[in-house]
């Protein structure tokens, strides 16, 4: 007998959204803060931050204490688009 888990693993899109929302809410955000809020391992955090930086949704900056991330205008627009898509698919019983 096959038992299906009620909880699906988070999709890449959902992880992107969690990271971007964390940076949007916190402002200039250190990687450890993102790691804590987005509930990711260090390796996966580095991978996703690299992807978001490459897509110019986040901007990586450096100060005397180390790296921090800020949300770009493109990143904010992406959050809004994904939130709308999330609401739309919810109407048909889907999740992002």
């Amino acid at each position: 007998m096959v038992t299906l888990s009620a909880e699906r693993p988070r999709s890449s899109l959902k992880i992107y959204l969690d990271i971007l929302e964390t940076v949007r809410d916190e402002g200039n955000t250190r990687p450890t803060r993102i790691l804590y809020h987005a509930n990711l391992s260090h390796d996966r955090l580095v991978k996703y931050l690299g992807e978001l930086n490459t897509r110019q949704l986040l901007e990586e900056r450096q100060d005397s204490d180390g790296k921090y991330y800020t949300l770009t205008a493109k990143g904010l627009d992406f959050i809004n688009q994904v939130k709308k898509a999330e609401a739309f698919v919810m109407g048909f019983g889907l999740t992002i």
Binding site: L4, R8, L13, Q81, V82, K83, K84, A85, A87, F88, V89, M90, G91, F92, G93, L94, I96
Partner: protein, 230 residues
Amino acid sequence: MASDTVISVLNILSGVVALLVSYYAYRSNRLVGNNLLRYISIGFLLLGLSLFLEAGTENLARTTPVNAASVRGVELGAFLVYTTMQFAAYLVFAWGYVLSTLRRPDGQSPAGAPSTTPATGASPALIGALAVRMIAVGTFILTIYLVSQLAIVILLLFIVYHGVLVFTRTKSNLSLMVLFGFILIFAAHILLFGAGTFTSSGLLVIGDTIQFCGFLALLFFLYWSGHVVG
């Protein structure tokens, strides 16, 4: 005649909403990448185009004389096309829901218009033959209409059932709006089936009005999901 105008306007407005839902399903699918969204987008596209064609055909029927046989031929062709498109649209929705249920983890062309001959300058025998032919065509249209409406009602019953399952699982207002929209469209097609069975133009107007209310519920859904700015 006034009721024909009302039906045409309601069908055009319903078609606009259907195309809007199709567009937003397409856009959401580009982000989310789910097969059900692809089927919803294709289904509402077919539905929107068929409603425009239906409204156009009704306008043609209203504005041309009854004996314009060539125009009646075009109407018959259009009727077959939009009836098939509506049936295909609901079939696509149902198929999408079946696939999404089976794969939970990730998410006929109509016959051409018959050749027609102009009725102008016809002899009494020709007029008689034409009248018999028009009665035969009328019976054919009614049969196709009733069979397609019955098939659409059965498909919509399945879609509504799936909508109830989605709502009981998610308990979200957004899925309730989609369910409400499909319930109204389902009720409308039962009335449209009745309109064909009893050849009642009153039931036709009520059916098309309820169908429009169903699309209005879907428009509210788009508004609440943040897609249509009020």
